[in-house]
């Protein structure tokens, strides 16, 4: 009798790296950006946010924590000198909070558009220019064909391309490589991976509030101690 230990295959040829098995996550050719949350990293192909393809984030409501989810990755990109472009955010981005989260404000550009068409056009332009590290856009409605086009533009750009869409868009089909739904759960944020390259994930990943706020703290400054105590209070509340 052959005893199978761990994941070793009884047939050595099946362990070839070019062969994908149904239970595995896809291998990505372009390096991914670590999300900063290990629980989320473990479930994403490439162990991080995909670059060079479209990502959709569908929060249950605006302001639930979707931007803080991206915060560490954006901070890392801006510190590395890459440019961030935000297209038509729902409210005014607040500079002191972004600076406290570690995002270099000199690298951030906000684009205000009037129609969805302009938003998608600006997104495509930013991706085509290949000069941005991350492009975030908030369109109100996007069609499948437009998403397909953006996916193609994202492939050439090697940038983190994120579309924030309303929760109703969960039922629509989309060519994006990664789709994430966000909802509030007790003690933090529940991240549902709706679509990823690889096997689907049934359970939600819980990201606790403490891990959110630990990223926003600069321990050496006096203001940092204030935020730390605030964070401690928030965590216990």
């Amino acid at each position: 009798m052959i005893s199978i230990a761990s994941n070793a295959s009884p047939i050595p040829a099946l362990a070839h790296p070019a062969l994908w098995r149904g239970s595995e996550l896809a291998r990505v050719s372009v390096p991914s950006l670590p999300t900063g949350f290990p629980a989320l990293d473990a479930e994403l192909p490439g162990k991080g946010w995909p670059t060079g393809s479209l990502t959709e984030i569908l929060p249950a409501r605006v302001g639930i924590g979707e931007l803080r989810l991206l915060g560490p990755a954006l901070a890392g990109l801006s510190a590395a000198g890459k440019r961030l472009v935000w297209i038509d955010p729902p409210h005014r981005p607040y500079a002191p909070a972004l600076a406290a989260a570690g995002i270099e404000l000199a690298r951030l550009v906000i684009v205000r558009t009037r129609t969805d068409r302009e938003t998608l056009w600006a997104l495509e332009q930013a991706l085509d220019s290949r000069t941005c590290g991350a492009v975030l856009a908030w369109p109100s409605a996007v069609k499948y064909t437009e998403l397909r086009r953006l996916q193609l533009a994202a492939e050439d750009s090697r940038a983190l391309a994120v579309l924030f869409r309303p929760q109703q868009a969960t039922v629509e089909s989309s060519p994006a490589a990664l789709r994430i739904g966000l909802a509030i759960a007790a003690g933090g944020l529940a991240v549902h991976i709706l679509k990823r390259r690889g096997a689907p994930l049934e359970r939600a990943i819980l990201i606790s509030s403490t891990s959110f706020h630990s990223h926003a703290v600069d321990c050496s400054s006096p203001a940092g101690t204030a935020t730390r105590s605030a964070a401690a209070r928030l965590a216990t509340a």
Binding site: G63, P93, T113
Partner: protein, 424 residues
């Protein structure tokens, strides 16, 4: 032949009034554009531009290459021209004006070629031309065969001198053209235009002319103004600003196309003009030795310009922190890539509402889609008495019943709770 006779013969003929001033303007525009090939450009009115290219042959890769570039450029700008090359300027002018595109590079062939020209190429008074024809002279060769003193006596010494200058026997000094300090060119459209996109075709010709003019002056512009002349006599001015000075015609075309795409013409347009006043010195681009993988810095500026051209200059901006206690003033718009100060603030939300939204107070607890639980605070901010925008507020971080975090404040004077930001 009179106009009516011409129309009778060819009813589909379109008759236009001759506009001599527009012709002169076009000639001057072409001369300024042609200065990118050589600094020595002379004009011969009414319709010839002379370029002295012996010094430019090496740089531009030979005579055929320069001729090709000039021909292409003129065609792209919408002009039809005949080009001729000769060792003397007068001979070259005569060949071109006679419509013969001759290419003569040595003196021996020059005499032959000049002799083959018809007598009308002389471009002198019609009486003299008549007199020449009357004595049976058809080509300049026939004229040159006649005795010189006889010619001088009958038709004037100037005629003889011109012939000698054309053949290189006498010097022919020219005053060279100096380009104007600002660029201002105009095209009358053939028919009125109601859609802004249709103006792009005419605008492109002007932009090519501008690019040539800037190349001649080794300069770039950071600002262009398009003026559209309407049927009712008014003009619309469209200003296009660039992040960095440039003289790239393709880039100008892209920006103008984006801008025209978002302009709605209130009245049909019959003429378009482009004006560029500030010419800034711009050296040529240095190409890198190794190919870049993430795009050159120039591409970023191009992206910002493209976005601004279509969406408006104020629609694309950066963010900066401002040393201010009042939250709404602590975040200001800035130019992209502007240097930032590092400032410290307390816990602040990612999103700030444009205007604080009043929320209800149920009991003693503020209510925004359900009762709010106050988590952190109060942070008292009182500031701004010096510019009539003074605030006295107690800020709290609160959690809504839907478990999202918001930033609310209580107005100290007059009471009332307001929602000011969302933590996201």
């Amino acid at each position: 032949m009179s106009t009516t006779a011409a129309l009778a013969l060819a009813p589909q003929l379109r008759v236009r009034q001759r506009d001599a001033s527009a012709e002169t303007e076009a000639q001057l525009g072409i001369a300024a554009w042609a200065m990118q090939f050589t600094p020595n450009v002379a004009l011969e009115f009414p319709d010839a531009v002379l370029l002295e290219v012996s010094g430019s042959l090496k740089l531009f890769g030979g005579l055929t290459q320069i001729l090709g570039d000039v021909r292409e450029g003129l065609a792209a700008m919408g002009f039809t021209a005949s080009l001729a090359v000769a060792p003397t300027s007068r001979a070259a002018g005569w060949f071109a004006c006679a419509g013969q595109e001759t290419l003569v590079t040595d003196a021996v062939r020059l005499d032959e070629a000049v002799s083959a020209l018809p007598a009308a190429a002389l471009r002198c008074d019609p009486d003299i031309l008549e007199a020449i024809a009357a004595i049976g002279v058809i080509t300049l060769g026939d004229l040159l065969a006649l005795p010189r003193d006889g010619l001088a006596r009958r038709f004037g010494q100037t005629l003889l001198d011109d012939l000698d200058r054309a053949r290189g026997r006498l010097p022919d000094p020219r005053t060279f053209f100096t380009p104007p300090v600002r660029f201002d060119a105009r095209i009358e459209l053939i028919s009125e235009v109601t859609q802004a996109e249709a103006l792009l075709f005419a605008a492109r010709r002007l932009l090519l002319q501008l690019a040539g003019y800037l190349a001649a002056r080794s300069g770039g512009v950071q600002r262009l103004v398009l003026r559209l002349a309407h049927r009712d006599g008014g003009t619309t001015a469209i200003a296009i600003g660039l992040v960095a000075p440039t003289r790239d015609a393709e880039h100008f075309t892209l920006l103008v196309r984006e801008r025209l795409g978002s302009v709605a013409l209130r009245e049909p347009v019959h003429a378009i003009a482009i004006e560029a006043t500030d010419i800034l010195p711009l050296a040529g681009d240095n190409l890198g030795l190794f190919p870049d993988d993430t795009g050159t810095p120039g591409n970023w500026e191009r992206l910002i310009e493209r976005l601004r051209a279509r969406l408006g200059t104020e629609a694309v901006h950066g963010l900066a922190t401002h040393a201010e206690h009042r939250p709404e003033h602590a975040s200001v718009k800035a130019e992209p890539d502007e240097r930032q100060l590092k400032l410290e603030f307390g816990e602040r939300p990612f999103w700030l509402l444009d205007a604080p939204r009043p929320i209800a107070e149920v009991g003693t607890v503020p209510n925004y889609e359900g009762p709010l639980t106050l988590l952190a605070g109060p942070e008292r901010i009182e500031s701004g008495w010096w510019d009539d925008d003074d605030i006295a507020r107690d800020y709290f971080v609160a959690r809504t019943s839907a478990e999202s975090l918001v930033w609310v404040y209580r107005e100290r004077r007059g009471g009332g709770w307001y929602l000011h930001g969302l933590f996201a």
